[in-house]
């Protein structure tokens, strides 16, 4: 069994008296593509945002490479945040900067490297994601798929060992989405980067995921955990089975008349 890089224990997230998720426990192994999935409103993005430190959980621990993100403060927390990269659903590229400047930004702000090396390092990342020809373009000039690739390049700027991706295939055509899946798989296999991906795109999950957890909006916790193909074939819970086989709810009328 390989090294565990992320470990979530008894996590409870929500705001005020409203609990969105509770009793969340899972481990992510090094080099895995780990997918968090679930229906709309099941708390996938909330879980991701608490794992990257944007939301403080109500209870529980989030261990990333041996440091508890929930209790880490000051320099320790800043150091931990720099150890992983995040690519947001919309890309979240800075619209006033070129693609190269976007990817160079973390290097500019957080390293003492000389300018040519920062440019080379940023260009190398953009080349990895296949955007070497578009480095001087503004984000608005790129297509959705290219923006997501650029966002992944920016997330990788500081060579993190962990990358969090929020819905990477949302809004992309099937070919672009498949390209992006291939890129994720390649990065995981060749560079040993651990991916935590939030998604509900089944085709993409089957092709990239080493392990998945599925969140249930009814019970507000993890419904199942395992390999996607195995879950599809063996799941006993009707809701989970329907999800993995993409079957509609048999009891529900199509139109709520």
């Amino acid at each position: 069994m390989s090294e565990i890089v992320i470990s979530v224990r008894n996590l409870k997230v929500g705001y005020g008296d409203t609990v969105i998720l509770h009793n969340i426990n899972f481990d992510v192994e090094c080099g895995d593509v780990f997918v968090i999935l679930g229906g709309s409103g099941s708390g996938k993005s909330t879980l991701l945002k608490s794992m990257i430190g944007l939301y403080a959980p109500l209870e529980g621990e989030i261990w990333i490479e041996g440091t508890n993100l929930v209790t880490a403060e000051g320099e320790e927390r800043r150091d931990l945040l720099r150890r992983f990269g995040v690519a947001y659903q919309s890309g979240a590229l800075f619209g006033s900067m070129t693609i190269l400047e976007n990817v160079r930004l973390p290097l500019d702000e957080l390293t003492a490297l000389p300018q040519p090396l920062k440019e080379l390092a940023a260009l190398a990342k953009l080349k990895l994601v296949g955007l070497a020809a578009s480095v001087q373009k503004m984000p608005a000039e790129l297509s959705g798929g290219m923006q997501k690739r650029a966002a992944i390049a920016r997330a990788m700027a500081l060579d993190p060992r962990i990358l969090f991706l929020d819905e990477p295939s949302a809004g992309l055509d099937p070919v672009t989405a498949a390209d992006l899946d291939l890129l994720i798989k390649e990065l995981a296999n060749r560079f040993g980067i651990t991916f935590v991906v939030v998604s509900h795109d089944l085709a993409s999950i089957y092709s990239i995921a080493d392990r998945v957890i599925m969140l249930d909006s009814q019970t507000k916790t993890i419904a199942v955990e395992g390999k996607p193909a195995v879950l599809r074939d063996t799941a006993t819970d009707p809701h989970v089975r329907r999800f993995f086989r993409r079957e509609p709810d048999a009891d529900a009328s199509r139109l709520h008349l």
């Binding site: 800075f94 619209g95 040519p116 090396l117 390092a121 260009l123 700027a157």
Partner: protein, 369 residues
């Protein structure tokens, strides 16, 4: 570590971990060591390197492309095969392509001025067209009760009017006070102190009352209209309206213009009154009696002045709301677009207010002859 062998030959031995921190240090050492000497061959020995991240790899690439030693042949030995593969994917052309091409073209001054004037003229034309469009739509919209959406008018009235009362009060009182205070000395030099109150009355009613109210309205509400409509445009809400067959001018702009036209005269009355009170308080403090103040005010102000004040305020209100909405509807793409249209709304409103004020001054002069 940098070693110099026979003349024209140097060797760089890299040991341990080459990451962003160590690469920055190595860069400085290498620059100091290599810039000064003339080399024919540089050998980089990476056999003892344990770890190399993106920054380290960039340093190796920079060396291998000969950018630090322009005339030397560079050989990199002992690189891990995986890294080697990454390394090969990158050529000098890629790096050179990064250098921005001379994109900034130089224009001659007359061409710049010409294009600037042309742009300003087109902009003015667009503003006037929009005002016309609003004016054309205002009566039919108000005629049909269904289209007017009076609750929205009420909301704008409250936000842009009632909520602006404190700031308008403060500014007007202070301006009245300051003008009276500053001018009392000068008037005293000419023995014309008695006209202090006349001056305050005329200035506030004919000029500053409407102007202050309008400028504050432009800053507070014109910008808000532009930001509101701009955000709606960015969020495709305007497109949604259009696909329902609804005209954004009738649905969004008319309400704001009507509310502004209704509230600006009230705000102007308020501003004028408080400005005069500010000036009068200075006059009273300087020893004028209340009856004298009343007499001077009524002697200097005529019905025509009040009509002018009301006419100005209606026009200014319409300008501020229409320009704010126009800039909002014109909002472009990208995160800075809403900010840009807000700024343009305030700037254009203030310019148009002052221009309209000049027109009113000429009109009043001609009509009074």
């Amino acid at each position: 570590m940098l070693q110099f062998g026979p003349p024209g030959f140097a060797r760089v031995v890299l040991r341990g971990c080459l990451n962003a921190r160590t690469a920055a240090i190595s860069w400085n050492t290498l620059e100091e060591g290599l810039r000064a000497v003339k080399l024919e061959k540089l050998e980089v020995d990476a056999r003892e390197m344990e770890l190399c991240d993106g920054a380290g790899l960039s340093l190796l690439r920079y060396l291998s492309m000969g950018l630090m030693t322009p005339e030397a042949v560079v050989a990199i030995n002992g690189l891990d095969p995986d890294l080697e593969q990454l390394f090969r994917a990158f050529t000098l052309e890629d790096y050179k392509a990064l250098r921005p091409s001379s994109r900034a073209r130089c224009h001659s001054l007359p061409a710049e001025v010409g294009s600037g004037v042309g742009h300003a003229a087109r902009d003015l034309r667009k503003q006037i067209e929009f005002l016309g469009n609003v004016a054309r739509n205002i009566i039919p919209t108000l005629w049909s009760r269904r289209q007017t959406r009076w609750p929205e008018v009420g909301r704008v009235f409250e936000q842009a009017g009632a909520n602006a009362v404190p700031i308008v009060s403060l500014i007007s009182i202070l301006v009245g006070l300051i003008i009276a205070f500053e001018s009392s000395q000068t008037l005293a030099n000419f023995g014309a102190q008695i006209f202090l109150v006349n001056m305050i009355g005329i200035i506030m009613v004919r000029e500053l009352g409407p102007l202050l109210a309008a400028v504050l309205l432009a800053g507070r509400s014109g910008s808000a209209f532009a930001a509101e409509l701009g955000t709606m445009k960015v969020n495709e809400e305007l497109d949604a309206l259009k696909t329902f067959g609804l005209d954004p001018i009738r649905f969004l702009v008319i309400q704001r213009v009507v509310a502004s036209i209704l509230l600006t005269p009230l705000l102007t009355c308020f501003s004028t009154f408080l400005g005069i009170m500010g000036g009068v308080s200075v006059a009273v403090a300087l020893g004028y009696s209340w009856s004298l103040v009343y007499h001077q005010l009524t002697a200097s102000l005529h019905l025509g002045d009040l009509v002018l004040c009301a006419a100005k305020s209606v026009a200014f209100g319409a300008i501020v709301a229409a320009v704010g909405c126009l800039r909002g509807l014109e909002t472009g793409e990208g995160p800075s677009a809403v900010g840009v249209s807000t700024t343009r709304a305030v700037v254009a409103s203030i310019i148009l207010i002052v221009m309209a004020d000049a027109v009113f001054a000429v009109l009043f002069y001609v009509l009074n002859k």
